[in-house]
């Protein structure tokens, strides 16, 4: 699976929030087309790693690389278009339909010949064809998760960061989402999933980066 050059790299990255140290000297590399779990208990810093990757927050120490360039060398807008994110709280716009919520990401990315067709394709692919005109409040949790994934996917990002995708789902729906993310990975995207779902982790043999409460990482299957 390992390719010659990593697409994501954390080098001795630390992050403080005031006097509190959230991450301490984290280092890891993720290669193109990998399927990686980022594991750790609540408060271990999984979401902070995603926020650092999209430059929502800046590291206190160390360096982060995306596609061999430090994040500060990349334009923030360009970086966020190249890294798709599915947020833990999904961040769907409540007064927009499924179709419109996905369309917004395509509008931001711009430059598409036939945006409506692109959106329909992604909606079909995540299995929401019949629900494209519904609002987020009219959807089940698993369906909302799919909308979040579709929105992150629509602009064909190189890396997909998925934060706790199964936290509000029953086992059946959780597996459906994991299968969907596996399919996305098979199509060529690098997928990083932050989770603490033991069932899923025990059933899959993908690479796992473990963050402890002490904020030190441990790489398994790597």
């Amino acid at each position: 699976m390992k390719k010659s050059l990593p697409i994501l790299e954390f080098k001795q990255v630390s992050k403080n929030f005031g006097s509190q140290r959230i991450l301490e000297e984290i280092s890891f590399k993720i290669y193109p087309q990998e399927f990686v779990f980022l594991v750790g208990p609540s408060g271990a810093g999984k979401t902070s790693i995603f926020r650092l990757l999209s430059r929502e927050i800046l590291p206190s120490d160390g360096e982060i690389f995306f596609d061999q360039k430090t994040l500060s060398d990349l334009g923030i807008c360009d970086l966020r278009r190249r890294i798709g994110r599915v947020f833990q709280d999904l961040k769907l716009i409540s007064d927009r339909t499924v179709f419109e919520n996905i369309q917004i990401a395509l509008d931001v990315a711009g430059g598409y010949q036939n945006p409506t067709e692109e959106i329909k394709k992604v909606i079909d692919w995540v299995g929401l064809k019949e629900k494209k005109h519904l609002f987020p409040a009219q959807l089940a949790e698993g369906e909302k998760q799919r909308v979040g994934i579709a929105r992150a996917l629509i602009s064909a990002p190189e890396v997909l960061l998925v934060d706790e995708p199964t936290s509000n789902l029953d086992s059946n729906n959780a597996w459906k989402i994991i299968k969907l993310l596996k399919d996305i990975n098979k199509k060529g995207a690098t997928v990083v999933i932050a989770t603490h779902d033991e069932d899923i982790l025990n059933s899959l043999e993908d690479r796992t980066i473990i963050l402890s409460k002490e904020s030190k990482e441990k790489d398994e299957n790597n």
Partner: protein, 295 residues
Amino acid sequence: MKIIKTAFNHIRRSPYQSFLIVIVLAFSFYLISSFATLAFISQKILGFFEAKPQIIAYLKDAATMEQVEQLKTTLKESGQTEKIVYVSKEEALKIYQENNQDNPLLLEMVTADILPASIEISANKIEYLKPISEILQQEEIISVSEGNKKEIDFQEGIVESLRHWTLMVRRVGLGVGGFLLMEVFLLIVVVMSMKITLKKEEVEILRLLGAKAWFIQAPFLLESAIYGFWGAVVGFGGMYLTLTQSQPLIVSLLGEIGIFPISSRFLLFLLASVVAFSSLLCALGSLVATRRYLK
């Protein structure tokens, strides 16, 4: 295209707020257009009086044409006159008859003999009226009244006072206009700040998805420009309606001073100016509001 659609969605989703903004803008631009039109009308009134002969000197019956020509030459050589017209007794009678067509009794009583010939002078500048009148005072051919005063009429007072009022209208218009424009600008800044704050969630998502500041700002700017456009159009429309409705009253007040029809070129220029200025001002207000928020 997407920006236009989003801007119209913003308006559609808060119709009462949008309506209120347009009403406030319309009222402001109604007053601004009214002051501009008032300044135009007062300028026209001033022009009417300025175009009239400003000095009329009545001549003695004994004055010969040579003496009149000599007076004309003296006045021309002073370099202070724009136009000098000699009005003979016969021409004076004609003017009298035209002015009193509806009073046959007066027409019967007056003949050319009792009307004096006169010389009518327009000055280059209002301040030349006095020196011209002094030249006339020295002339022998100017008729003398009972109090041994030369019969010279000049309307320095009227024109000066009109100039003063025209200037006042312009100054008050500029003051009120400036205040109203500031009020419009602040209104847009406050309303658009509120609107973007209400869309906090959406703006945050757009930024996380990688939207550039311009992509977020553009619909708000366009929305404000639309308010500005409609505010100016409705305000101008209101002023035009008031003007046409009050036309009979203005005509009766101003009498022979021909104000109507008001130049369509002026009206079109005024409409284009208020629409462009209002749209730009509102877009600028929105830019300030969104920039402050996105910072």
